[in-house]
């Protein structure tokens, strides 16, 4: 039935391997991706969002500087979604510690799922995630007056006591697949499945697509000599690549020792 499938590294059929390449030289740190993500995914917010320890943002933009003072200072912004780690040996850090199977790795899309209704809030996954991509709901979401009507029906809102995270807008994949099915196709085109943050970025810094597909933009970009991933040496095998021509930025991507060579 699905003869075009390739055997993946773990003996599973690997159809797609969705991932992202973020060009840090283009990112201006405007935060449009964060806003788009929150509205797209019904992410709860509180009256006072200034305490970042308890606020939720599936996509968060971090700021890094080269540590020098004026005029040599340089700033770089790191947008950070979930990395959807495959793991060098097939173990995503969060998936392997979850005692409830509330999160799993989908070998057909390469997406790490999160099923909040299954989660009982032990937060092992948050401790295991090296990227702080997972967030705990300390409260039930409270939407301002009438905003409830503007929530997306494609994403189920979460409740108090469960963990949530970026899903690469998986519901958009589901919608794109339905459209393809009605047109009698099985394959999904590159432009049919794009995440909300990718489309919101005014600088075009984010590129999204199938990392296995030679025709997709991400496949070409990830091969750039300037591409790197965060904490690559941990063996998490993340699917989000970053790109920068500035060597200090690439050095920020991992904990290098003084004098150690980096990418």
């Amino acid at each position: 039935m699905k003869e075009e499938h390739k055997e993946g590294a773990h003996g599973h059929v690997e159809k797609y391997k969705y991932g992202m390449v973020i060009d840090l030289d283009k990112c201006t740190g405007c935060g449009a991706c964060m806003v788009a993500c929150m509205t797209e995914n019904n992410v709860p917010f509180r009256k006072d969002e200034s305490d970042k320890l308890v606020s939720t943002a599936w996509m968060r933009v971090f700021k890094a500087t080269n540590g020098k003072s004026y005029p040599d200072i340089d700033v770089c912004y790191f947008p950070r979604p979930c990395m959807h780690c495959e793991g060098d040996h097939g173990h995503s850090p969060c998936v392997s510690v979850c005692p409830a199977v509330a999160t799993d790795y989908d070998f057909e899309t390469g997406i790490v799922s999160q099923i909040p209704t299954r989660c009982f809030g032990c937060r092992y996954c948050m401790a295991a995630c090296p990227y702080h991509a997972r967030y705990f709901n300390w409260w039930d979401p409270v939407w301002p007056d009438k905003m409830e009507k503007a929530l997306s029906p494609d994403v189920s809102p979460r409740m108090r006591g469960v963990v949530e995270k970026c899903t690469f807008c998986f519901h958009r994949f589901q919608r794109a697949r339905d459209k393809a099915y009605v047109e009698g196709r099985r394959e999904i085109r590159e432009d049919e499945y794009q995440t909300a943050c990718t489309q919101a970025c005014p600088a075009d810094a984010i590129t999204f697509g199938d990392l296995n597909n030679h025709e997709h933009e991400v496949y070409k970009l990830k091969k750039s000599p300037y591409a790197f991933r965060l904490l690559e040496r941990l063996g998490t095998n993340p699917k989000v690549y970053y790109m920068s021509t500035r060597s200090w930025v690439r050095r920020e991507g991992d904990n290098y020792l003084k004098g150690e060579k980096s990418k």
């Binding site: 039935m1 799993d104 790795y105 989908d106 070998f107 909040p116 494609d154 339905d178 099985r186």
Partner: protein, 205 residues
């Protein structure tokens, strides 16, 4: 053996205990199998007694009311505008039709249908995958609704708020037809047979 033990032994074998046991068992079974389900589910009536069999003759096929939109989504239960096409004026003298016209078509108000098969909010279901790709019949999952003369009573679980069709009419969870219930296991059972992938992010959102 002490005198106390002797007395206990005599009591244990007396017919009174057996009677108590049998009566107790019967009461528990009655409560569990028939009173509890009645308490657990509240009954609601559909706003209009809609007959599928009459309309199948009038409209021709299911697709004239339940169709796919261009974006791949399924129309579900038709909107009022669909009914207006034929019911601008009364077709007959059925009191249900009068109700339709007076309560909904004249004030232009959508009919608040209750959906028997409605899944919890966290579930993603795709008709395109099953009907177009899987080539399954509506009956496999919905039973005889498409041929029925009257709408059934809708039963809602008082605790979860879910439709009873998810758990099924049998409180013990027995199933003799494919459409008797539609819990996660029932979806997964059929997916297993067809070799559909089993990751959580197939049916959840």
């Amino acid at each position: 053996m002490s005198a106390q033990d002797e007395k206990n032994k005599a009591a244990a074998s007396s017919p009174i205990v057996i009677v108590f046991f049998v009566v107790g068992l019967a009461v528990s079974l009655l409560v569990g199998w028939s009173i509890f389900p009645k308490l657990l589910y509240s009954q609601k009536k559909q706003p209009i007694d809609f007959s599928h069999s009459i309309h199948l003759d009038a409209a021709g096929d299911c697709e004239s009311c339940h169709y796919f939109r261009e974006d791949g989504s399924f129309s579900g239960i038709p909107e009022l505008s669909n009914c207006v096409e034929c019911h601008e004026e009364a077709q007959g003298e059925d009191p249900e039709e009068i109700k339709l016209i007076e309560n909904y078509i004249e004030p232009n108000k959508e009919i608040p249908w209750l959906v028997y098969s409605r899944q919890p909010d966290c579930v993603f279901f795709s008709h395109a995958a099953h009907v177009n790709m899987g080539e399954l019949e509506c009956k496999t999952c919905h039973g005889m609704i498409g041929e029925s003369d009257h709408v059934e009573i809708y039963e809602e679980n008082r605790i979860t708020g879910y439709s009873r069709n998810i758990w099924g009419k049998s409180i013990g969870g027995f199933k003799s037809n494919t459409w008797d219930r539609m819990k996660m296991d029932d979806c997964a059972e059929c997916h297993d047979e067809h070799g559909t992938r089993q990751a959580c992010f197939v049916c959840h959102k």
